[in-house]
Amino acid sequence: MRLIHKFLLVYLIISLVAFGIGGMVTYYIFSKEIERETNFELLHKVRYLKDMMEKGVSYKILMQDKIHIDQIPSSKTIKDSTVFSDTLAYHRYSKAVIIQRKIDAYRNIQDTTYHFSIYETVIEPEDTKNSATRSMVILFLVLVAFSLVLSFFISKWLLSAFHVSLIEMKKFSIQSSKPIQLPVSSTYEFKNLNKFINQMTTKAINDYKNLKEFGENLSHEISTPLAVANGKLDLLLQETNLPENQISLVITAQKAIQKLSKIQRAISLLTKIENAEFANVKPLDISGVINKMVKEFIELAELKEIKVTTDIEADILINMDSTLAEILFSNLLQNAVKHNIPNGTIRIELNQKRFSIANTGIKPVESPEKYFFRFKKNNQSSESLGLGLSIVKKICDISGFDINYNFQQEAKEHKISIQFQKL
């Protein structure tokens, strides 16, 4: 539900209550006013009749429909008094008993007391009520109609600043290093929102920049001491007459340095991929890339007596960054060779829809998809880094590919498929 519709709904509910109360108040005021006017009219009539009688007109002549005058026997003396009341009386023209306003007045005229009893038809309360209700309903409907039309324009005009902010936010990229700059809105809330968006994006960009610089600096700062240590060990190794156990110590130390360096490079690569630093996306002949990689690894595979079969369609063009493509396919091929068994096989297939690589190997301990997580290895004590498939996964994510990994029990085959177009 749109914001404006919610506003409108709440507004109309409140209006409905207000109109209800308004109707009752109107009815009450109208009734009072009618009663007052009728009373005034009746009093006026009594005064007129009294005047006529004081001028000597007989009260009998003055009597007519709705006017009744009695002479009170002189034995009793009654003071002038006036009493109003509502009464049911027969109405001659409507031929029905309806509510009428009645005045009972006692007046002393020339030492004689007369009782005036006059009826006046009034507007019926039912009619007043109906009229009040009807006018309130009509007013309410008019209000609804106006609100609907108005809301359409108001949402366009009032929320335009908000929509502008929304569009700008959608366009925002943390790598662009440009904070969102929004036009100043005259609305307090939007002004606040835009200010916040601006501050937040500026901060996000700064944090991102710092993190990136930190990563780059760390990479550089670590690599130099590693190079120093590795070099010292190289020199030590060249010392003549170094006993076997010491050579072994040196080589083990160098292995550790190499591993540290590989981890640092792999993580730095992952960060770079995450930061979308490889964004040179264009149609790439991946048939060529894969054929090149196969050539690179075929010698290794043959050394391990692994049979490689390929079914690579020529000239397959896929939108992706060329550096990422090389990293992706070399990682997959490397894995297929590395985790293979002697006399095993590797099958590589490529067509416009998908790429798949299947290799024989030992049964994985856990669900194969788990190897997409960082540092997840089949054998935790193994020398491999456990970052290869994380990199593969990241590259697929960033290139918009679907990747899945499964193990076929009977064939003892690991199979990784990459779907180029998302299904």
Binding site: H220, S223, D234, L237, Q254, I257, E299
Partner: protein
């Protein structure tokens, strides 16, 4: 061969100097951009080892200075950053090769020799070791006059061994040389063993002497001494 080592880290500079001096190269050192500029105006070098990040400026500035003055030295960039951009930029600016820290000193040595060979336009370009002759242009190796049928990796391996003759080369250093970034799995060491076995077989089958000795199963040495 005269080499200028431009590197701000003392220890790393000494490592390189020590290893390269043993190779019989003449090394001079510069720890900053200004020191390097001074040396470059007064002396000529065959090879310049260039660190990109220096305390008083960028190695790229030195590189453009070298190129603008038409100095004919070979330039090998030594960078702490494993960054594609730096690599591409360095090579675009006219550097001959690029090596990322940390590296093996034998690798540095092999790269320097390779640049030196490529730069030496005058005269003989062949690599010779006893009865073995290698032609880097045609990528052919011969024992006496007998042509060896090498795979690409075997060829690279032989060149690497000869560049670092009489030195212990560990399996790791060899794997790193042959496969670079792909050498991350340490079972590539088995591949090293296989390659070396094949290399040795091919040389001896062609009538060459066996110059390869195994160092306690951890490394290899290519030398005439036994």
């Amino acid at each position: 061969m005269k080499i200028l080592i431009i590197e701000d880290n003392n220890e790393l500079r000494e490592n390189m100097e020590s290893y390269l001096t043993q190779e019989g190269f003449l090394c001079e050192l510069a720890e900053s951009k200004s020191a390097a500029m001074d040396k470059l105006t007064s002396f000529l070098y065959d090879i310049i080892l260039l660190d990109i990040m220096l305390p008083d400026g960028s190695g790229m500035d030195i590189l453009s200075h070298i190129k603008s003055r038409g100095i004919k030295s070979g330039v090998l960039i030594i960078s702490g950053k494993d960054s594609m951009d730096d690599k591409i930029q360095g090579l675009d600016y006219g550097a001959d090769d690029y090596i990322t820290k940390p590296f093996f000193l034998p690798e540095l040595n092999a790269r320097i020799k390779s640049i030196y060979r490529r730069k030496k336009f005058d005269g003989d370009n062949l690599i010779r070791f006893e009865e073995i002759t290698i032609n880097p242009e045609t990528r052919e190796a011969k024992v006496n006059m007998h042509l060896l049928e090498f795979t690409r990796k075997e060829y690279e391996l032989l060149v690497y061994f000869i560049a670092n003759k009489n030195r212990i080369l560990t399996k790791q250093a060899i794997a790193e040389h042959l496969w670079g970034d792909f050498a991350d799995s340490l079972d590539s060491h088995d591949f090293v063993y296989q390659h070396i076995k094949n290399l040795r077989k091919k040389i001896t089958n062609a009538g060459g002497a066996d110059y390869l000795s195994t160092i306690y199963g951890m490394g290899y040495k290519f030398s005439t001494e036994q």
